[in-house]
Amino acid sequence: MANSNLPRRIIKETQRLLSEPAPGISASPSEDNMRYFNVMILGPTQSPYEGGVFKLELFLPEEYPMAAPKVRFLTKIYHPNIDKLGRICLDILKDKWSPALQIRTVLLSIQALLSAPNPDDPLSENIAKHWKSNEAEAVETAKEWTRLYASGA
């Protein structure tokens, strides 16, 4: 069973996530697989995603913490660094992963990414192009999507 020999680190992280959650972020492990987390991130204020509640899934691979967690948006989101499958372009999830990072820091980074989209390093070409050519319009679309897909689910 995956849960039987769960590393102390994961248990500890889970306990801390539950006992002192980061503002605007909630993460709770799935009951049948303690490596699988259901995550909710509130759209940061003063961003196009304000007011939205975004669902994500986070999975800790066997090698964790030596390998990065796998994170994906479940809620549709209009963002240049997130594609339509919900995959996230974030360096710390790829080559810049460090075992000193944690679930909490990963989720905080994702939250920060919502506040500061980076169209220069896009995952979704079309959205990035949109963002660069007409930022106001793109922001409007993002707001629109937030209203459509991320409100009060």
């Binding site: 102390r8 680190r9 500890k12 992280e13 913490p65 030596m66 810049k96 460090s98 075992p99 000193a100 944690q102």
Partner: protein, 1011 residues
């Protein structure tokens, strides 16, 4: 003269060669030619030694082969000189017009070889030499036909006056002449003495060569170009000028009585020209194993290598009145000896005594010039090199406990002065320069020092140097532990006010040379000295290096034994009139240790690695006892060594100390200990056997030592193995902080922003100091065997290493800075044990043994020192001590100077304190602990000398009680086998084993330990 030469042959030959040749010459030639008449005639004509010259009738001259003819010239130099006299007049007159700068050295006969066919040259014809230019040569020598570049760069050809090439001169001549002529140091003229009427290829042509030397060679002290360029990669040094002098048959008319050259008159090991001194060394040195049986060296220990002075011969000298203590007779002898060494036999005598490295030659020039040649550096000068130029001083190597400090203090006040007042430095400087330049050329790997030393002593800078160097008094350099003691001893033994004293140590020390130079005595540490020395930038070396000291004293001088260490180079770069080494163990590990001392002392030429290596180190390692003999003869005049067993004139021991009782306590391990040890041993042996199988023992030396370390620690107490006690080195927190900050300084520009801020480091260090627990950012647990990264992040060692893709380096998980494994510092922690030792306390057999001993001593009130190599074991010992109410203090590497002094004082004066816990390394040197009369050595050390030195802290002058020294060994363990290894080590130290033997010995040793 085996075969008989028949008379008819003789007369046949005579009829052809003419009557100029003696019968003997013809008989010899016939003999060499095996009675072949034609061959014999050829030999006679081909051989062009002066003896065969048709113009002279010489009897009883040896026929020598053409190749050896120059040597033959040497042997008959008397005859030859007369010849030279004759020529001198004629040649010198011709040259008078241009000869102001050129001195006629002499002439010699050279056997040229014809390279042409059909041309002819007559006796008396002038020949012109053609020296090949270097490929990039721009300025050919004036007056010499430098038309075309020779195909082979080493061949010197000659032609007739019509510029037709005739032949070439032998390589041995070319080799000497080429570099000298190229640099315009020497000029050569030649004429034909004899040649066959019609030349054929390879015919012999007798030439007479006259050599003139340019005066620039002597006045400018510019020696670099004297070196044969081709020898720069070769360790053997070739100096063209001395070689040329030899070829010319000049022999020195004056030599020092004993010259270093006497020891190596012949390079070939088989046909050694054995001086009477070395009659024994005739056996071929190749048969290394043969040496063991007959080699007396194998029984030598240190005393035999370096010799013990029969002190009864030495005069005594009363100490100056300023000295407030009585000197013992042998100490008065030392004072007399040291002053003699500094003042020289007498200055006049020194001035007129030729320096042993130099030889005096009289040139054939009618101006009666005398030239001095240094056979070792190839330098030439016209100034008389006297022994004054040798450094004054020596090695005071009295055994521990005889009071070297007091003897030195008495010297400080008995003979005082200011640096530079001797007035001999210009010569010294240039002398050193020549030698050092030589090193640069010949031993590239060693180039650090000479470059620097050259900068210091360079002739061009000489005048500047002399004025910019402040004249200083005495500089005493000692290990940090002894700083306080030197100060205290000077203050107690010297009449107040007669010496001004300054301790040059710590961050706030002045760098200003003037204030340092004003003090009579400056005491500093090796570390401070090394830190003020920068090998790249000699001019900026301030402080200690900008002063010309009257005297530099190295206490515990073996500290500089590794010649390539910064501290050793720094010490050698100090400028001083008098130099002293104080050490009880001039050789700690191998013969090379002596080299560093000689280099510091400026004992020429042994301070140059090339010479040392060639004449001492190599022969010694090869089993040639001459190496050792030479060391002895070098050391004998400059070293004074007495031991506690030395006797005075009446045969009484020079020092009466209470007896010392050495005892080894063999402990029986308990069942549990045995089991644990066996388990550990088996595990280690499996690993070791694997290395043996792979034949990679020496490659895995470090890992094997690690295995052994665990086993040895296990003998002390199994708890030690359960901990990872490698924190000693860095447990000094301020050192830790320094290391971080140093790391910052090294960061290249791009990394500056990543550099750790001072505030952050201070925070981390503070955290560590307060023992704050913290957690590892990777496992989120309390640290387990925490390490610190250079960027000052703390992680568990395993967590960090697991995060890296390869085992040697990776990124810091916290800041992503690249770090490598060796940069990691084991973080000091409050408790280094992974078990709760207080709760689970178990005594090991050694601890039980120690407690018994201490219990027996308790009522007597006598004090004890307990030595261990591992501070972790000292930690452990504190538990039973506290429980058994044994009062103790502790001295280890974590204490700073003040703390150490406080501990020593407390231990010496507070009668309630029974025990001093001391780490073997911290207590190794100099400290005077005569308050204690018992020493317990808890674990054996590889090098018995270190152990002995520590123990001798209590058995020395001032000790009034009987001394008991007890060493603990656990039966049936690696410790017992180490005893055997120690005995072997003793032999290795004494130099009884050759290099190869040492290598195999090391393997043997390791195998021994794992049986």
């Amino acid at each position: 003269m085996g075969s008989k030469v028949t008379d008819p042959n003789l007369s046949t030959v005579r009829s052809i060669v003419g009557s100029e040749f003696s019968d003997m010459d013809i008989i010899r030639a016939l003999h060499m030619a095996k009675n072949d008449v034609t061959a014999a005639i050829n030999i006679i004509f081909d051989t062009n030694t002066p003896k065969f010259k048709p113009t002279r009738i010489i009897s009883k001259q040896q026929v020598s082969s053409p190749k050896s003819s120059p040597r033959a010239v040497t042997t008959s130099s008397k005859k030859n000189n007369a010849d030279v006299e004759n020529k001198k007049c004629s040649v010198a007159t011709e040259l008078d017009s241009e000869s102001v700068d050129w001195w006629f050295v002499g002439s010699g006969d050279v056997a040229g070889l014809s390279t042409c066919k059909g041309r002819s040259i007559k006796s008396g014809d002038k020949v012109i030499f053609k020296f090949p230019t270097k490929k990039v040569s721009v300025s050919p020598s004036p007056g010499k036909g430098f038309g075309r570049a020779a195909s082979c760069s080493e061949i010197v050809r000659f032609s007739n006056e019509q510029d037709w090439e005739i032949g070439r001169i032998p390589n041995e001549w070319a080799r000497c002449l080429l570099p000298l002529v190229r640099d315009n140091k020497v000029r050569v003229e030649g004429k034909c003495e004899f040649a066959p009427n019609v030349l054929g290829i390879m015919d012999n042509i007798n030439l007479s060569i006259s050599v003139f030397i340019n005066r620039s060679m002597f006045v400018k002290h510019h020696h670099v170009s004297l070196k044969d360029a081709t020898s720069s990669t070769d360790e053997s040094v070739f100096h063209p000028l001395p070689a040329l002098f030899r070829l010319l048959g000049l022999s020195p008319f004056k030599k020092a009585e004993l010259t270093p050259g006497d020891f190596f008159s012949n390079k070939r090991p088989f046909s050694q020209t054995v001086t009477s001194l070395h009659a024994k060394s005739e056996r071929p040195s190749q048969n290394g194993h043969e040496n063991e049986n007959e080699d007396p060296v194998s029984e030598f220990d240190l005393d035999n290598i370096v010799g013990v002075a029969s002190s009864s011969e030495l005069e005594e000298m009363d100490p100056p009145e300023n000295l407030l203590c009585e000197l013992r007779p042998y100490q008065k002898q030392a004072l007399h000896w040291m002053i003699q060494m500094e003042k020289g036999q007498s200055r006049d005598e020194a001035t007129t005594t030729l320096h042993p490295c130099w030889e005096a030659y009289r040139l054939a020039d009618k101006r009666e010039l005398v030239v001095y040649l240094n056979a070792f550096s190839g330098e030439a000068t016209t100034e008389f090199p006297s022994t004054l130029e040798m450094a004054r001083g020596g090695i005071l190597a009295d055994a521990m406990g005889l009071g070297k400090t007091v003897m030195t203090i008495s010297l400080l006040i008995a003979h005082s002065g200011r640096g530079g007042s001797l007035g001999s430095q210009p010569a010294t400087q240039s002398f050193i320069e020549g030698g050092e330049v030589g090193d640069t050329g010949t031993v590239p790997k060693f180039s650090n020092i000479p470059k620097k030393a050259t900068k210091f002593t360079g002739f061009d800078k000489l005048t500047k140097q002399n004025t910019s160097l402040s004249s200083g008094g005495n500089l005493i350099i000692c290990p940090m532990t002894l700083l306080g003691q030197w100060k205290a001893e000077i203050e107690t033994h010297v009449h107040p006010g007669s010496l001004s004293l300054y301790v040059h140590y710590g961050q706030s020390r002045p760098k200003d040379a003037k204030s340092l130079a004003q003090c009579d005595v400056v005491i500093t540490t090796y570390g401070t000295m090394a830190s003020e020395f920068s090998s790249e930038n000699a001019e900026n070396n301030g402080g200690l290096f900008s002063i010309r000291w009257f005297r530099v004293v190295l206490d515990e001088a073996h500290t500089i034994k590794s010649s390539k260490s910064q501290v050793s180079m720094a010490a050698s770069a100090l400028i001083a009139d008098n130099r002293w080494c104080l050490t009880g163990t001039p050789i700690q590990n191998n013969l090379e240790d002596v080299y560093s001392l000689l280099r510091f002392l400026r004992i020429e030429p042994w301070g140059h690695w090339a010479w040392w290596n060639k004449l001492i180190q190599k022969p010694f390692e090869g089993g040639d006892e001459r190496g050792l003999k030479l060391v002895q003869s070098i050391l004998k005049p400059i070293m004074l060594r007495r031991t506690k067993h030395s006797t005075d004139r009446e045969g009484k021991p020079i020092l009466v100390l209470p007896p010392a009782d050495m005892q080894i306590i063999y402990c029986d391990p308990t069942e549990a200990e045995k089991d644990f040890y066996e388990a550990l041993f088996k595990r280690s042996k499996v690993k070791f056997d694997k290395f043996v199988e792979q034949g990679r023992i020496l490659h895995n030396y470090a890992s094997i030592l690690e295995l052994l370390l665990r086993l040895r620690q296990c003998c002390d107490h199994p708890f030690l193995v359960m901990s990872r006690g490698d924190t000693q080195e860095f447990s000094d927190l301020s050192k830790l902080a320094k290391r971080f900050l140093r790391g910052t300084g090294n960061a290249s520009e791009g990394e500056v922003k990543d550099a750790v801020s001072r505030a952050y480091v201070e925070e981390v260090v503070e955290e560590l100091r307060n023992g704050e627990k913290g957690e590892c950012p990777i496992c989120l647990e309390a640290f387990e065997d925490a390490v610190l990264t250079p960027c000052a992040h703390r992680l568990c060692r395993e967590c960090l290493l697991a995060s890296w893709r390869n085992s040697s380096s990776g990124l810091c998980p916290v800041c992503r800075k690249t770090i490598s494994k060796q940069d990691l510092i084991t973080a000091p922690t409050e408790s280094r044990f992974q078990v709760d030792i207080e709760k689970n306390w178990v005594e090991s057999c050694k601890i039980t043994g120690l407690l018994n001993e201490l219990e027996n001593l308790r009522s007597s009130g006598s004090k004890s020192i307990v030595f261990s190599q591992w501070t972790a074991f000292l930690d452990l010992l504190q538990i039973p001590f506290t429980r058994n109410k044994i009062s103790f203090v502790r001295l280890d590497g974590t204490l700073n100077l003040q703390q150490r002094e406080k501990v020593i004082k407390q231990f010496s004066e507070d009668s309630d304190i029974q025990v001093l816990l001391m780490s073997l390394k911290a207590g190794g040197v100099g400290i005077n602990l005569t308050a204690a009369s018992n020493a317990f050595v808890m674990d054996p050390w590889w090098n018995p000398a270190v152990e002995e030195q520590a123990v001798m802290r209590i058995h020395r002058i001032g000790q009034t009680k009987k001394v008991a020294i007890k060493r603990f060994i656990v039966k049936g363990t690696v410790e017992q086998r180490m005893e055997a290894v120690q005995a072997r080590k003793q032999r290795m130290i004494s130099g009884a084993l050759t290099d190869q033997e040492v290598r195999s010995a090391r393997i043997e040793e390791l195998k021994m330990l794992f049986t």
